[in-house]
């Protein structure tokens, strides 16, 4: 009760401070400019209280934090129809199950495996992960996962993606969930932009370490692919492969134009001043692999939130969803690789670094 009263007082102060001004503010400018953009003070109808339980916690107007976020951000392509080629990926994919038969056995690529299963009761299909109960490699409860698990809705860290930093506590997590590693150094591509090889997020350092706040068991553990800012994950000779690789059988590339948005890397920068969203430059040997080199942050068309279908041999011929899959549409097939032209005979994108094709 005391907490609710305190919240009301704080929100009223915000309203009086901001609401009397004629100036219009953009949301999240220097933090959230308007408390009442997401919280409601007057959720009543002609003086009557709205039906009990219909208003989200903390006087949010959405049913829950993610529903509140998606009120705006769904329209920015974060939860669309798969045709929005955003850097993090479209949560649409977690609503899509694909099934097919191979070698006489049923196969599936389930929506659960296509993304972080954020819970948004106001949206159709954004439910808790039905398979996993905790974060793979960690303890974060799947039934508490929302946009607010990674992004601080009030932006206290000051980074443009509102990511939590070291010692921050994930909003609304029962009993508290404290982040150990700081927010990564990177520039996001923008919430409304379709990413390309020349217009993309730019990564400096700390992304894998930040992911390890919830997925610690996957971070440079024995038997795991290296990722992060340490010698084990440095590209070394793989940088030459990355820069030369154009396609299967074509190693004529050069560093100046070798960057693939589909397979980004960190350049090791410890501040954002030198990062360039429009760079087409490939890595040098000190660049490093990170979690997001192979996985998208939000969702993708593929299992394990892969940037591509990890189980294929030939990408064009073997990737699911295929139009013959139950649950697939032609648009899904067209959008799964972000409109990227995949040449016939192209083998797995693992080869961008490893050239085993």
């Amino acid at each position: 009760m005391k907490l609710t009263k305190l919240l009301l007082v704080v929100m009223a102060a915000c309203l009086i401070t901001l609401g009397l001004s004629l100036t219009s503010y953009a949301l999240h400018d220097d933090g959230v400019a308007h408390c009442d953009a997401c919280h409601t003070m007057h959720n009543s109808e002609d003086g009557n209280t709205v039906a009990a339980g219909a208003v989200g916690p903390h006087l949010q107007i959405g049913a829950d934090p993610s529903s509140t976020c998606l009120t705006c951000h769904a329209g920015y392509g974060q939860f669309s129809d798969g045709s929005a080629y955003r850097a993090g990926g479209d949560f649409y994919w977690v609503t899509k199950d694909y099934t097919w038969s191979a070698h006489g056995r049923p196969q599936a690529s389930t929506g659960d495996s296509h993304g972080h299963n954020v819970i948004a009761a106001d949206e159709t299909g954004l439910d808790a992960d039905a398979t996993l109960t905790t974060a793979p490699g960690g303890t974060y409860s799947a039934n508490q996962l929302g946009c607010n698990s990674c992004h601080d809705p009030h932006g206290s860290q000051g980074n443009e993606s509102l990511l939590y930093g070291a010692e921050d506590t994930a909003f609304d997590y029962p009993g508290g969930y404290t982040f150990v590693n700081p927010a990564p150094v990177f520039l996001n591509a923008g919430r409304t932009k379709d990413v390309t090889d020349s217009d993309h997020s730019a990564f400096g350092s700390g992304m894998s370490e930040w992911c390890a706040n919830c997925h610690a068991g996957f971070y440079n553990a024995v038997g795991k692919h290296p990722a992060g800012n340490n010698t084990g994950a440095a590209l070394n000779g793989e940088a030459s492969n990355y820069n030369a690789y154009v396609a299967t059988g074509d190693l004529s590339g050069v560093q100046a134009t070798s960057y693939w948005e589909m397979i980004p890397f960190e350049d090791g920068a410890t501040d954002t001043s030198g990062l360039d969203r429009t760079s087409t430059m490939g890595p040098d040997s000190t660049g490093n692999v990170m979690c997001l080199s192979c996985h998208r942050a939000h969702a993708s068309a593929f299992p394990n939130i892969g940037r591509w279908y990890f189980e294929d041999t030939l990408m064009l011929e073997d990737s699911h969803p295929m139009i013959t899959d139950t649950g697939a549409t032609q648009e899904d097939v067209d959008n799964m690789y972000y409109g990227r032209v995949i040449p016939a005979g192209q083998r797995s994108f693992c080869n961008k670094c490893h050239v085993q094709d």
Binding site: L20, A37, M41, A54, T71, S83, Y92, D122, E331
Partner: protein, 306 residues
């Protein structure tokens, strides 16, 4: 001051009552944030379900009478408009430019409408919304904040740079974006910009007016969505976060708001797109599979403020 802007007498000038939700024989169709179009010639309502990728047509009783587009033949459907002769224009998302597909009354594709005589700076124009009014097509790109007006054959007539009119720099347009968009009977273009907490009207001769202030008190905007105008000049603005539809008179004076989040039939959850038919019925698309709610709008002679 802050909370004293509402007059009880004025609020009574427009009355709203819930009628029903758009349905088929199985019950209410659980749309989430579908796009809407009213075919005034035939009193039919078109609903675009971008998630299911189909277009359904409803009669004036709110019952589904036809469905098309779900065979993939129209690509990624994003919006629809209907010409006076009943032929259908489907806006389909493609890269690098979206396509306007002319269909017959069955929704069968006939041809692709090509935009002609575009100015050089609009050669790559790619609309994501379409509206039809009195023989003209109004095409909006919500990210670049541009409107192109053509005739029904796609021949360029005029364009409007909404970003410049509102004062949004080029580099900030994609993150600003237009949400609600419609064209009233006089050809005025109505649109909303959520991050500015504002709604705007733009006359055909380029005169722009805006209204709206941020806040959660009655008459203030949280996150605005669709906007339409009735024949009396009143404006109806959906507010997705406030879960209400706000009504303003022709001078942008707040009259009332209705809906509010809840589970009663007359409540609204995340109202986004609005259309108004010729009989004063307001159609409201919502999220959370709440479908399309239909309200009767009734006007009473307005009494003077005390």
């Amino acid at each position: 001051m802050f909370f004293g802007a509402v007059s009880t007498d004025v609020m009574a000038a427009v009355e709203t009552s819930f009628l029903y939700s758009l349905s088929n024989t199985s019950g209410t169709i659980p749309y989430s944030w579908a796009n809407l179009f009213i075919d005034e010639e035939r009193n039919e309502i078109y609903v675009v379900d971008t998630r299911e990728q189909d277009i359904r047509i409803f009669n004036d009783k709110g019952m589904e009478i036809y469905r098309f587009g779900n065979d993939g033949s129209l690509g990624t459907i994003v919006d629809v408009a209907v010409k006076k002769d009943g032929s259908i224009l489907v806006l389909s998302r493609r890269r690098p430019k979206s396509a306007i597909i002319l269909c017959n009354f069955r929704g069968e594709p006939l041809a692709e409408l090509q935009l002609k005589n575009l100015p050089s700076d609009l050669l790559n124009f790619s609309p994501d919304r379409i509206a039809y009014r009195k023989g003209l097509l109004y095409l909006l790109n919500s990210s670049s904040m541009r409107i192109v007006v053509t005739d029904t054959n796609g021949a360029f007539q005029k364009d409007y740079d909404l970003g410049s009119l509102v004062g949004v720099e080029d580099k900030k347009r994609a993150d600003t974006q237009i949400d609600g968009f419609s064209v009233d009977r006089e050809g005025n273009m109505l649109f909303t910009i959520p991050v500015l907490f504002a709604a705007f009207t733009l006359s055909p001769d380029g005169q722009i007016s805006g209204f709206g202030r941020p806040g959660s008190a009655p008459g203030r905007f949280n996150i605005v969505g669709g906007i339409v105008a009735d024949d009396n000049g009143n404006y109806y603005v959906a507010d997705k976060l406030k879960c209400a539809v706000l009504i303003f008179d022709k001078n942008f004076k707040f009259l009332k708001e209705f809906g509010y989040r809840g589970l009663r039939p007359s409540n609204l959850i995340g109202p986004k797109n609005l259309v108004l038919d010729t009989r004063g019925r307001l159609y409201v698309s919502q999220r959370r599979s709440r479908g399309i709610s239909v309200f009767q709008i009734t006007h009473r002679p307005q009494t003077a403020e005390p």
